[in-house]
Symmetry: C2
Subunit: 252 residues, 2 copies
DNA sequence: AATGATAGTTTTCTCTAGAGAACAAATATG
DNA sequence: CATATTTGTTCTCTAGAGAAAACTATCATT
Protein backbone atom coordinates (compact mmCIF):
# COMPACT_ATOMS: atom_id res chain seq x y z
CA UNK A 1 0.00 0.00 0.00
CA UNK A 2 1.52 3.35 -0.98
CA UNK A 3 2.21 5.93 1.70
CA UNK A 4 0.92 8.51 -0.70
CA UNK A 5 0.57 8.80 -4.44
CA UNK A 6 -0.69 11.29 -6.98
CA UNK A 7 -4.12 10.45 -8.42
CA UNK A 8 -4.66 10.70 -12.17
CA UNK A 9 -6.66 13.89 -12.72
CA UNK A 10 -8.19 12.79 -16.04
CA UNK A 11 -9.66 9.70 -14.36
CA UNK A 12 -11.03 11.70 -11.43
CA UNK A 13 -12.67 14.14 -13.82
CA UNK A 14 -13.99 11.31 -15.96
CA UNK A 15 -15.85 9.71 -13.06
CA UNK A 16 -17.16 13.04 -11.88
CA UNK A 17 -18.71 13.36 -15.31
CA UNK A 18 -20.19 9.85 -15.08
CA UNK A 19 -21.51 10.53 -11.56
CA UNK A 20 -23.19 13.64 -12.90
CA UNK A 21 -24.90 11.59 -15.61
CA UNK A 22 -26.00 9.00 -13.05
CA UNK A 23 -27.59 11.59 -10.80
CA UNK A 24 -28.92 13.77 -13.62
CA UNK A 25 -31.13 11.10 -15.18
CA UNK A 26 -31.34 13.01 -18.45
CA UNK A 27 -29.08 13.64 -21.44
CA UNK A 28 -26.49 16.36 -20.92
CA UNK A 29 -24.62 18.64 -23.27
CA UNK A 30 -20.96 19.65 -23.12
CA UNK A 31 -21.86 23.10 -21.83
CA UNK A 32 -24.17 21.76 -19.13
CA UNK A 33 -21.46 19.42 -17.84
CA UNK A 34 -18.91 22.23 -17.95
CA UNK A 35 -21.13 24.45 -15.84
CA UNK A 36 -22.22 21.83 -13.32
CA UNK A 37 -18.71 20.59 -12.65
CA UNK A 38 -16.87 23.86 -13.28
CA UNK A 39 -14.61 22.13 -15.82
CA UNK A 40 -13.24 23.82 -18.89
CA UNK A 41 -15.35 23.21 -22.02
CA UNK A 42 -12.31 21.91 -23.84
CA UNK A 43 -11.65 19.43 -21.03
CA UNK A 44 -15.26 18.22 -21.01
CA UNK A 45 -15.23 17.99 -24.80
CA UNK A 46 -12.28 15.62 -24.84
CA UNK A 47 -13.51 13.51 -21.94
CA UNK A 48 -16.98 13.14 -23.41
CA UNK A 49 -15.86 12.16 -26.90
CA UNK A 50 -13.32 9.72 -25.52
CA UNK A 51 -16.05 8.07 -23.46
CA UNK A 52 -18.36 8.12 -26.45
CA UNK A 53 -15.83 6.20 -28.51
CA UNK A 54 -15.52 3.64 -25.74
CA UNK A 55 -19.28 3.09 -25.50
CA UNK A 56 -19.32 4.40 -21.93
CA UNK A 57 -21.38 7.37 -23.10
CA UNK A 58 -23.47 7.45 -26.20
CA UNK A 59 -24.96 10.24 -28.26
CA UNK A 60 -28.60 10.63 -27.66
CA UNK A 61 -30.18 13.58 -29.34
CA UNK A 62 -27.97 16.02 -31.17
CA UNK A 63 -25.17 17.30 -28.97
CA UNK A 64 -26.44 15.56 -25.86
CA UNK A 65 -25.01 12.45 -24.29
CA UNK A 66 -26.26 9.69 -22.04
CA UNK A 67 -24.76 6.75 -20.18
CA UNK A 68 -23.89 3.93 -22.62
CA UNK A 69 -24.23 0.21 -22.75
CA UNK A 70 -20.56 -0.52 -22.15
CA UNK A 71 -20.88 1.08 -18.71
CA UNK A 72 -23.90 -1.10 -18.11
CA UNK A 73 -21.87 -4.20 -18.97
CA UNK A 74 -19.04 -3.15 -16.66
CA UNK A 75 -21.53 -2.39 -13.91
CA UNK A 76 -23.04 -5.84 -14.29
CA UNK A 77 -19.61 -7.39 -13.90
CA UNK A 78 -18.95 -5.17 -10.90
CA UNK A 79 -22.18 -6.23 -9.28
CA UNK A 80 -21.02 -9.80 -9.41
CA UNK A 81 -17.73 -8.93 -7.81
CA UNK A 82 -18.21 -6.24 -5.25
CA UNK A 83 -17.10 -7.53 -1.89
CA UNK A 84 -19.28 -5.09 -0.02
CA UNK A 85 -22.43 -6.17 -1.80
CA UNK A 86 -21.50 -9.87 -1.66
CA UNK A 87 -20.74 -9.72 2.02
CA UNK A 88 -23.74 -7.74 3.12
CA UNK A 89 -26.38 -9.12 0.75
CA UNK A 90 -27.04 -12.39 2.65
CA UNK A 91 -27.59 -10.41 5.84
CA UNK A 92 -30.02 -8.04 4.10
CA UNK A 93 -31.96 -11.05 2.82
CA UNK A 94 -31.98 -12.73 6.21
CA UNK A 95 -33.17 -9.63 8.05
CA UNK A 96 -35.74 -8.76 5.36
CA UNK A 97 -37.18 -12.26 5.74
CA UNK A 98 -37.12 -12.18 9.53
CA UNK A 99 -38.55 -8.68 9.96
CA UNK A 100 -40.71 -8.36 6.81
CA UNK A 101 -39.10 -4.98 6.18
CA UNK A 102 -37.46 -3.59 3.04
CA UNK A 103 -33.68 -3.70 3.47
CA UNK A 104 -31.18 -1.23 2.03
CA UNK A 105 -27.43 -0.91 1.84
CA UNK A 106 -25.97 2.49 1.04
CA UNK A 107 -22.77 4.45 1.07
CA UNK A 108 -21.95 8.09 1.62
CA UNK A 109 -21.19 9.88 -1.59
CA UNK A 110 -21.00 13.63 -2.15
CA UNK A 111 -23.14 14.56 0.84
CA UNK A 112 -25.91 12.19 -0.01
CA UNK A 113 -26.44 8.48 0.45
CA UNK A 114 -26.35 6.21 -2.59
CA UNK A 115 -28.32 2.97 -2.46
CA UNK A 116 -26.01 0.17 -3.64
CA UNK A 117 -28.20 -2.79 -2.78
CA UNK A 118 -31.80 -3.48 -1.81
CA UNK A 119 -33.87 -6.47 -0.74
CA UNK A 120 -37.60 -6.07 -1.11
CA UNK A 121 -39.90 -6.99 1.71
CA UNK A 122 -41.78 -10.26 1.37
CA UNK A 123 -44.61 -8.33 3.06
CA UNK A 124 -45.63 -6.93 -0.29
CA UNK A 125 -45.20 -3.21 0.07
CA UNK A 126 -42.79 -1.59 -2.37
CA UNK A 127 -40.67 1.31 -1.22
CA UNK A 128 -39.93 3.52 -4.20
CA UNK A 129 -36.18 3.68 -3.81
CA UNK A 130 -34.04 1.95 -6.37
CA UNK A 131 -30.41 0.98 -6.54
CA UNK A 132 -28.32 3.88 -7.72
CA UNK A 133 -30.65 6.50 -6.30
CA UNK A 134 -29.41 9.15 -3.92
CA UNK A 135 -31.19 10.02 -0.74
CA UNK A 136 -30.66 13.33 1.12
CA UNK A 137 -28.13 12.86 3.89
CA UNK A 138 -30.26 14.53 6.54
CA UNK A 139 -33.34 12.40 5.93
CA UNK A 140 -34.71 10.04 8.55
CA UNK A 141 -32.59 7.36 10.20
CA UNK A 142 -29.81 7.53 7.63
CA UNK A 143 -28.76 11.04 8.49
CA UNK A 144 -28.49 10.30 12.17
CA UNK A 145 -26.52 7.16 11.61
CA UNK A 146 -23.98 8.71 9.26
CA UNK A 147 -23.52 11.86 11.32
CA UNK A 148 -23.10 9.75 14.45
CA UNK A 149 -19.89 8.42 12.90
CA UNK A 150 -18.49 11.89 12.29
CA UNK A 151 -16.69 14.25 14.61
CA UNK A 152 -18.53 17.24 16.14
CA UNK A 153 -16.76 19.76 13.84
CA UNK A 154 -17.75 17.69 10.78
CA UNK A 155 -21.34 17.52 12.03
CA UNK A 156 -21.37 21.29 12.64
CA UNK A 157 -20.05 21.89 9.15
CA UNK A 158 -22.75 19.81 7.50
CA UNK A 159 -25.55 21.28 9.64
CA UNK A 160 -24.42 24.81 8.81
CA UNK A 161 -24.41 24.04 5.10
CA UNK A 162 -27.63 22.04 4.83
CA UNK A 163 -30.94 22.88 6.42
CA UNK A 164 -32.84 20.33 8.42
CA UNK A 165 -36.03 19.89 6.43
CA UNK A 166 -39.50 19.39 7.87
CA UNK A 167 -40.49 16.39 5.74
CA UNK A 168 -43.36 15.47 8.13
CA UNK A 169 -44.84 16.97 11.32
CA UNK A 170 -42.49 14.63 13.20
CA UNK A 171 -39.31 15.88 11.54
CA UNK A 172 -36.80 17.57 13.77
CA UNK A 173 -35.49 20.84 12.34
CA UNK A 174 -34.01 22.17 15.53
CA UNK A 175 -30.24 21.89 15.26
CA UNK A 176 -29.55 21.57 18.99
CA UNK A 177 -32.20 18.85 19.39
CA UNK A 178 -30.89 17.06 16.27
CA UNK A 179 -27.41 16.98 17.78
CA UNK A 180 -28.85 15.39 20.90
CA UNK A 181 -30.40 12.70 18.70
CA UNK A 182 -27.03 12.10 17.06
CA UNK A 183 -25.44 11.75 20.49
CA UNK A 184 -28.11 9.16 21.39
CA UNK A 185 -27.24 7.20 18.25
CA UNK A 186 -23.58 7.27 19.19
CA UNK A 187 -24.52 5.76 22.54
CA UNK A 188 -27.05 3.21 21.29
CA UNK A 189 -25.38 2.26 18.03
CA UNK A 190 -28.63 2.47 16.05
CA UNK A 191 -30.86 5.20 14.62
CA UNK A 192 -34.62 5.13 14.47
CA UNK A 193 -36.92 7.11 12.21
CA UNK A 194 -40.45 7.46 13.62
CA UNK A 195 -42.21 8.94 10.56
CA UNK A 196 -39.64 11.76 10.37
CA UNK A 197 -39.02 11.35 6.65
CA UNK A 198 -42.23 9.83 5.27
CA UNK A 199 -45.51 9.77 7.16
CA UNK A 200 -46.72 6.29 8.00
CA UNK A 201 -43.22 4.88 7.46
CA UNK A 202 -40.70 3.95 10.14
CA UNK A 203 -37.10 2.87 9.76
CA UNK A 204 -34.11 1.73 11.73
CA UNK A 205 -30.48 2.05 10.63
CA UNK A 206 -27.07 0.95 11.69
CA UNK A 207 -23.66 2.10 10.47
CA UNK A 208 -21.04 -0.13 8.91
CA UNK A 209 -17.35 0.39 8.41
CA UNK A 210 -16.23 -1.50 5.38
CA UNK A 211 -13.28 -2.09 3.15
CA UNK A 212 -9.67 -1.22 3.60
CA UNK A 213 -10.32 2.44 4.34
CA UNK A 214 -13.13 1.71 6.81
CA UNK A 215 -15.51 3.48 4.51
CA UNK A 216 -18.81 4.60 5.93
CA UNK A 217 -21.81 2.59 4.85
CA UNK A 218 -25.15 1.88 6.39
CA UNK A 219 -27.86 -0.67 6.20
CA UNK A 220 -31.36 0.39 7.02
CA UNK A 221 -34.74 -1.26 7.19
CA UNK A 222 -37.97 0.42 6.23
CA UNK A 223 -41.57 -0.50 6.79
CA UNK A 224 -45.01 0.71 7.69
CA UNK A 225 -45.26 2.13 11.19
CA UNK A 226 -47.47 -0.81 12.20
CA UNK A 227 -44.61 -3.14 11.29
CA UNK A 228 -42.16 -1.26 13.48
CA UNK A 229 -44.21 -0.63 16.59
CA UNK A 230 -42.30 0.18 19.78
CA UNK A 231 -43.01 -3.36 21.05
CA UNK A 232 -40.92 -5.06 18.39
CA UNK A 233 -38.18 -2.43 18.16
CA UNK A 234 -35.94 -3.84 20.91
CA UNK A 235 -35.88 -7.27 19.25
CA UNK A 236 -35.29 -5.88 15.72
CA UNK A 237 -32.64 -3.45 16.93
CA UNK A 238 -30.81 -6.30 18.65
CA UNK A 239 -30.86 -8.27 15.38
CA UNK A 240 -29.41 -5.46 13.26
CA UNK A 241 -26.79 -4.50 15.86
CA UNK A 242 -25.58 -8.09 16.04
CA UNK A 243 -25.42 -8.32 12.27
CA UNK A 244 -23.58 -5.00 12.02
CA UNK A 245 -20.96 -6.28 14.42
CA UNK A 246 -20.59 -9.47 12.41
CA UNK A 247 -20.16 -7.50 9.16
CA UNK A 248 -17.71 -5.02 10.69
CA UNK A 249 -15.67 -7.94 12.03
CA UNK A 250 -15.46 -9.34 8.51
CA UNK A 251 -13.77 -6.18 7.29
CA UNK A 252 -11.22 -5.84 10.06
CA UNK B 1 -19.65 16.39 -34.10
CA UNK B 2 -15.89 16.98 -34.29
CA UNK B 3 -14.05 16.25 -37.49
CA UNK B 4 -11.39 14.66 -35.42
CA UNK B 5 -10.14 15.02 -31.89
CA UNK B 6 -7.46 13.57 -29.67
CA UNK B 7 -8.76 11.03 -27.17
CA UNK B 8 -7.61 11.24 -23.57
CA UNK B 9 -5.09 8.43 -23.14
CA UNK B 10 -5.56 8.08 -19.39
CA UNK B 11 -9.27 7.43 -19.89
CA UNK B 12 -8.64 4.91 -22.65
CA UNK B 13 -6.16 3.07 -20.46
CA UNK B 14 -8.51 3.24 -17.49
CA UNK B 15 -11.32 1.49 -19.34
CA UNK B 16 -8.96 -1.09 -20.77
CA UNK B 17 -8.10 -1.93 -17.18
CA UNK B 18 -11.79 -2.15 -16.26
CA UNK B 19 -12.54 -4.32 -19.31
CA UNK B 20 -9.75 -6.63 -18.23
CA UNK B 21 -11.30 -6.95 -14.78
CA UNK B 22 -14.72 -7.62 -16.29
CA UNK B 23 -13.44 -10.42 -18.49
CA UNK B 24 -10.97 -11.77 -15.92
CA UNK B 25 -13.57 -12.58 -13.26
CA UNK B 26 -10.92 -12.76 -10.56
CA UNK B 27 -8.85 -10.25 -8.56
CA UNK B 28 -5.82 -8.91 -10.36
CA UNK B 29 -2.53 -7.47 -9.19
CA UNK B 30 -0.67 -4.49 -10.59
CA UNK B 31 1.89 -6.72 -12.30
CA UNK B 32 -0.76 -8.96 -13.85
CA UNK B 33 -2.55 -5.96 -15.32
CA UNK B 34 0.74 -4.52 -16.53
CA UNK B 35 1.59 -7.74 -18.35
CA UNK B 36 -1.87 -8.37 -19.84
CA UNK B 37 -2.24 -4.85 -21.20
CA UNK B 38 1.44 -4.13 -21.82
CA UNK B 39 1.21 -0.95 -19.72
CA UNK B 40 4.04 0.35 -17.59
CA UNK B 41 3.79 -0.74 -13.94
CA UNK B 42 3.96 2.84 -12.82
CA UNK B 43 1.06 3.72 -15.11
CA UNK B 44 -1.02 0.80 -13.85
CA UNK B 45 -0.14 1.66 -10.27
CA UNK B 46 -1.51 5.19 -10.58
CA UNK B 47 -4.60 4.18 -12.50
CA UNK B 48 -5.48 1.41 -10.06
CA UNK B 49 -5.09 3.48 -6.90
CA UNK B 50 -7.02 6.37 -8.42
CA UNK B 51 -9.87 3.99 -9.24
CA UNK B 52 -9.59 2.46 -5.77
CA UNK B 53 -10.07 5.88 -4.17
CA UNK B 54 -13.14 6.44 -6.34
CA UNK B 55 -14.72 3.12 -5.37
CA UNK B 56 -14.56 1.90 -8.97
CA UNK B 57 -12.06 -0.74 -7.91
CA UNK B 58 -11.63 -2.05 -4.40
CA UNK B 59 -8.86 -3.95 -2.65
CA UNK B 60 -9.65 -7.56 -2.27
CA UNK B 61 -6.89 -9.65 -0.85
CA UNK B 62 -3.54 -8.01 -0.30
CA UNK B 63 -2.25 -6.34 -3.43
CA UNK B 64 -5.09 -7.56 -5.59
CA UNK B 65 -8.02 -5.54 -6.80
CA UNK B 66 -11.54 -6.23 -7.95
CA UNK B 67 -14.38 -4.24 -9.51
CA UNK B 68 -16.02 -2.02 -6.91
CA UNK B 69 -19.50 -1.02 -5.91
CA UNK B 70 -19.34 2.47 -7.38
CA UNK B 71 -18.97 0.94 -10.82
CA UNK B 72 -21.95 -1.23 -10.07
CA UNK B 73 -23.99 1.85 -9.20
CA UNK B 74 -22.93 3.61 -12.40
CA UNK B 75 -23.72 0.48 -14.39
CA UNK B 76 -27.21 0.33 -12.87
CA UNK B 77 -27.80 3.94 -13.89
CA UNK B 78 -26.47 3.17 -17.35
CA UNK B 79 -28.80 0.21 -17.71
CA UNK B 80 -31.72 2.50 -17.14
CA UNK B 81 -30.52 4.92 -19.77
CA UNK B 82 -28.98 3.00 -22.61
CA UNK B 83 -30.94 3.77 -25.74
CA UNK B 84 -29.94 0.52 -27.36
CA UNK B 85 -31.21 -1.58 -24.49
CA UNK B 86 -34.34 0.53 -24.04
CA UNK B 87 -35.20 0.38 -27.71
CA UNK B 88 -34.59 -3.30 -28.24
CA UNK B 89 -35.81 -4.72 -24.91
CA UNK B 90 -39.55 -4.57 -25.70
CA UNK B 91 -38.93 -6.47 -28.94
CA UNK B 92 -36.90 -9.15 -27.15
CA UNK B 93 -39.72 -9.56 -24.65
CA UNK B 94 -42.33 -9.72 -27.35
CA UNK B 95 -40.45 -12.30 -29.43
CA UNK B 96 -39.50 -14.35 -26.36
CA UNK B 97 -43.17 -14.51 -25.44
CA UNK B 98 -44.30 -15.29 -28.96
CA UNK B 99 -41.69 -17.95 -29.72
CA UNK B 100 -40.95 -19.33 -26.23
CA UNK B 101 -37.26 -18.90 -26.94
CA UNK B 102 -34.55 -17.23 -24.88
CA UNK B 103 -33.75 -13.85 -26.43
CA UNK B 104 -30.36 -12.13 -26.45
CA UNK B 105 -28.98 -8.78 -27.50
CA UNK B 106 -25.23 -8.48 -28.02
CA UNK B 107 -22.59 -6.25 -29.48
CA UNK B 108 -19.25 -6.92 -31.10
CA UNK B 109 -16.39 -6.15 -28.78
CA UNK B 110 -12.76 -7.18 -29.20
CA UNK B 111 -13.47 -10.07 -31.53
CA UNK B 112 -16.11 -11.60 -29.35
CA UNK B 113 -19.76 -10.88 -28.72
CA UNK B 114 -20.80 -9.36 -25.42
CA UNK B 115 -24.32 -10.02 -24.17
CA UNK B 116 -25.86 -6.69 -23.14
CA UNK B 117 -29.41 -7.82 -22.54
CA UNK B 118 -31.33 -11.05 -22.17
CA UNK B 119 -34.95 -12.13 -21.81
CA UNK B 120 -35.49 -15.59 -20.42
CA UNK B 121 -37.86 -17.98 -22.10
CA UNK B 122 -41.24 -18.44 -20.43
CA UNK B 123 -40.84 -22.05 -21.57
CA UNK B 124 -38.75 -22.78 -18.52
CA UNK B 125 -35.36 -23.79 -19.83
CA UNK B 126 -32.47 -21.63 -18.73
CA UNK B 127 -29.62 -20.96 -21.10
CA UNK B 128 -26.46 -20.42 -19.11
CA UNK B 129 -25.40 -17.16 -20.66
CA UNK B 130 -25.56 -14.03 -18.58
CA UNK B 131 -25.40 -10.34 -19.30
CA UNK B 132 -21.81 -9.20 -19.53
CA UNK B 133 -20.53 -12.55 -20.72
CA UNK B 134 -18.55 -12.87 -23.93
CA UNK B 135 -19.29 -15.49 -26.54
CA UNK B 136 -16.75 -16.55 -29.18
CA UNK B 137 -17.39 -14.68 -32.39
CA UNK B 138 -17.31 -17.79 -34.59
CA UNK B 139 -19.87 -19.71 -32.58
CA UNK B 140 -23.23 -20.70 -34.00
CA UNK B 141 -25.60 -18.18 -35.53
CA UNK B 142 -23.85 -15.15 -34.08
CA UNK B 143 -20.66 -15.62 -36.02
CA UNK B 144 -22.46 -15.93 -39.32
CA UNK B 145 -24.59 -12.90 -38.69
CA UNK B 146 -21.73 -10.62 -37.67
CA UNK B 147 -19.43 -11.77 -40.44
CA UNK B 148 -22.23 -11.30 -42.97
CA UNK B 149 -22.05 -7.58 -42.21
CA UNK B 150 -18.34 -7.38 -42.92
CA UNK B 151 -16.45 -7.08 -46.16
CA UNK B 152 -14.75 -10.12 -47.70
CA UNK B 153 -11.26 -8.90 -46.72
CA UNK B 154 -12.39 -8.42 -43.12
CA UNK B 155 -13.92 -11.90 -43.11
CA UNK B 156 -10.71 -13.39 -44.56
CA UNK B 157 -8.69 -11.64 -41.89
CA UNK B 158 -10.78 -13.03 -39.06
CA UNK B 159 -10.89 -16.54 -40.51
CA UNK B 160 -7.12 -16.56 -40.92
CA UNK B 161 -6.61 -15.50 -37.32
CA UNK B 162 -9.20 -17.66 -35.59
CA UNK B 163 -9.87 -21.33 -36.22
CA UNK B 164 -13.34 -22.60 -36.90
CA UNK B 165 -13.98 -24.93 -33.96
CA UNK B 166 -15.84 -28.22 -34.10
CA UNK B 167 -18.14 -27.59 -31.13
CA UNK B 168 -20.53 -30.39 -32.24
CA UNK B 169 -20.61 -32.97 -35.06
CA UNK B 170 -22.71 -30.42 -36.97
CA UNK B 171 -20.17 -27.61 -36.71
CA UNK B 172 -18.69 -26.40 -39.96
CA UNK B 173 -14.92 -26.04 -39.82
CA UNK B 174 -14.31 -25.87 -43.54
CA UNK B 175 -13.45 -22.26 -44.40
CA UNK B 176 -14.77 -22.32 -47.95
CA UNK B 177 -18.06 -23.86 -46.85
CA UNK B 178 -18.34 -21.37 -43.96
CA UNK B 179 -17.94 -18.50 -46.40
CA UNK B 180 -20.80 -19.93 -48.47
CA UNK B 181 -22.93 -19.91 -45.33
CA UNK B 182 -22.01 -16.28 -44.71
CA UNK B 183 -23.01 -15.45 -48.28
CA UNK B 184 -26.37 -17.14 -47.66
CA UNK B 185 -26.90 -14.99 -44.58
CA UNK B 186 -26.13 -11.89 -46.61
CA UNK B 187 -28.85 -12.94 -49.03
CA UNK B 188 -31.43 -14.08 -46.50
CA UNK B 189 -30.78 -11.52 -43.77
CA UNK B 190 -30.83 -14.13 -41.00
CA UNK B 191 -28.53 -16.81 -39.65
CA UNK B 192 -29.55 -20.18 -38.34
CA UNK B 193 -27.67 -22.49 -35.99
CA UNK B 194 -28.77 -26.11 -36.31
CA UNK B 195 -26.93 -27.59 -33.29
CA UNK B 196 -23.63 -26.18 -34.58
CA UNK B 197 -22.62 -24.70 -31.23
CA UNK B 198 -24.43 -26.80 -28.61
CA UNK B 199 -25.99 -30.17 -29.31
CA UNK B 200 -29.74 -30.23 -28.91
CA UNK B 201 -29.91 -26.42 -29.15
CA UNK B 202 -30.90 -24.36 -32.18
CA UNK B 203 -30.78 -20.63 -32.69
CA UNK B 204 -31.61 -17.92 -35.15
CA UNK B 205 -29.97 -14.52 -35.34
CA UNK B 206 -30.36 -11.24 -37.11
CA UNK B 207 -28.00 -8.27 -37.31
CA UNK B 208 -28.79 -4.74 -36.18
CA UNK B 209 -27.15 -1.46 -36.98
CA UNK B 210 -27.60 0.89 -34.08
CA UNK B 211 -26.58 4.24 -32.80
CA UNK B 212 -24.94 7.17 -34.49
CA UNK B 213 -22.06 5.14 -35.83
CA UNK B 214 -24.27 2.30 -37.09
CA UNK B 215 -22.58 -0.03 -34.65
CA UNK B 216 -22.94 -3.75 -35.22
CA UNK B 217 -25.23 -5.54 -32.82
CA UNK B 218 -27.29 -8.66 -33.05
CA UNK B 219 -30.28 -10.21 -31.43
CA UNK B 220 -30.56 -13.95 -31.35
CA UNK B 221 -33.02 -16.48 -30.08
CA UNK B 222 -32.09 -19.81 -28.59
CA UNK B 223 -34.08 -22.91 -27.77
CA UNK B 224 -34.23 -26.65 -27.84
CA UNK B 225 -34.15 -28.13 -31.32
CA UNK B 226 -37.75 -29.32 -30.87
CA UNK B 227 -38.78 -25.70 -30.38
CA UNK B 228 -37.11 -24.61 -33.59
CA UNK B 229 -38.08 -27.37 -36.00
CA UNK B 230 -37.86 -26.60 -39.70
CA UNK B 231 -41.68 -26.28 -39.84
CA UNK B 232 -41.79 -23.19 -37.62
CA UNK B 233 -38.57 -21.59 -38.88
CA UNK B 234 -40.14 -19.64 -41.77
CA UNK B 235 -42.67 -18.01 -39.45
CA UNK B 236 -40.12 -17.21 -36.72
CA UNK B 237 -37.59 -15.91 -39.24
CA UNK B 238 -40.23 -13.60 -40.68
CA UNK B 239 -40.97 -12.24 -37.21
CA UNK B 240 -37.35 -11.46 -36.38
CA UNK B 241 -36.60 -9.98 -39.79
CA UNK B 242 -39.55 -7.62 -39.50
CA UNK B 243 -38.51 -6.59 -36.01
CA UNK B 244 -34.91 -6.03 -37.12
CA UNK B 245 -36.14 -3.71 -39.86
CA UNK B 246 -38.26 -1.82 -37.35
CA UNK B 247 -35.31 -1.41 -34.97
CA UNK B 248 -32.90 -0.39 -37.72
CA UNK B 249 -35.42 2.21 -38.90
CA UNK B 250 -35.50 3.63 -35.38
CA UNK B 251 -31.78 4.34 -35.54
CA UNK B 252 -31.66 5.98 -38.94
C1' DA C 1 -32.69 41.29 -40.76
C1' DA C 2 -29.21 42.57 -37.55
C1' DT C 3 -27.07 41.92 -33.30
C1' DG C 4 -25.86 39.64 -29.07
C1' DA C 5 -25.46 35.43 -26.48
C1' DT C 6 -24.53 30.66 -26.12
C1' DA C 7 -22.64 26.25 -27.48
C1' DG C 8 -19.34 23.55 -29.78
C1' DT C 9 -14.75 23.03 -31.89
C1' DT C 10 -9.90 24.01 -32.72
C1' DT C 11 -5.33 25.82 -31.69
C1' DT C 12 -1.60 27.04 -28.70
C1' DC C 13 1.36 26.93 -24.73
C1' DT C 14 2.76 25.93 -20.07
C1' DC C 15 2.64 22.91 -16.45
C1' DT C 16 2.20 18.23 -15.41
C1' DA C 17 1.59 13.13 -16.09
C1' DG C 18 3.38 8.71 -18.00
C1' DA C 19 7.23 5.94 -18.77
C1' DG C 20 11.69 4.56 -17.51
C1' DA C 21 14.93 3.69 -14.05
C1' DA C 22 16.09 2.78 -9.50
C1' DC C 23 15.11 1.04 -5.12
C1' DA C 24 12.85 -1.76 -1.43
C1' DA C 25 10.25 -5.67 -0.15
C1' DA C 26 8.50 -10.12 -0.90
C1' DT C 27 8.67 -14.53 -2.98
C1' DA C 28 10.72 -18.46 -5.36
C1' DT C 29 14.52 -21.48 -6.25
C1' DG C 30 18.71 -24.13 -5.50
C1' DC D 1 20.30 -20.16 4.15
C1' DA D 2 21.80 -17.63 0.15
C1' DT D 3 20.78 -15.97 -4.19
C1' DA D 4 17.86 -14.77 -7.98
C1' DT D 5 13.56 -13.19 -9.54
C1' DT D 6 9.34 -10.82 -9.20
C1' DT D 7 6.35 -7.33 -7.42
C1' DG D 8 5.33 -2.97 -5.62
C1' DT D 9 6.71 1.80 -4.80
C1' DT D 10 9.17 6.08 -5.54
C1' DC D 11 11.73 9.48 -8.11
C1' DT D 12 12.96 12.00 -12.27
C1' DC D 13 12.45 14.08 -16.74
C1' DT D 14 10.63 14.81 -21.26
C1' DA D 15 6.72 14.56 -24.13
C1' DG D 16 2.09 15.57 -23.93
C1' DA D 17 -2.52 17.04 -21.82
C1' DG D 18 -5.60 20.60 -19.77
C1' DA D 19 -6.94 25.22 -19.73
C1' DA D 20 -7.23 29.52 -22.00
C1' DA D 21 -8.15 31.91 -25.97
C1' DA D 22 -9.90 32.24 -30.41
C1' DC D 23 -12.92 30.88 -33.89
C1' DT D 24 -17.24 29.01 -36.00
C1' DA D 25 -21.98 27.83 -35.86
C1' DT D 26 -26.42 28.16 -33.93
C1' DC D 27 -30.01 30.23 -31.38
C1' DA D 28 -32.45 34.03 -29.11
C1' DT D 29 -33.70 38.76 -28.87
C1' DT D 30 -34.73 43.24 -30.63
Amino acid sequence: MPIEYKPVPAIEKCFKVLDLFASSKKPLSISEISKFLDFNKSTVFHIVYTLNDLGILENGTENKFRLGRQLYVLGKAAGKESELIHTVRPYLEKIAKETKLTAFLGVLSNNSVVIVDKVDSPYGIRVSSEIGLSIPLLAGAIGKVFLSQMSDPEVDKILSREKLKKYTPFSCNNVAKYKEMIQEVRENGVAIDREEYIEGIRAMAVSLKVGEHRLLASMWFVGLSIQLKDEVLPKFLRIIKDVAQEINAHFV
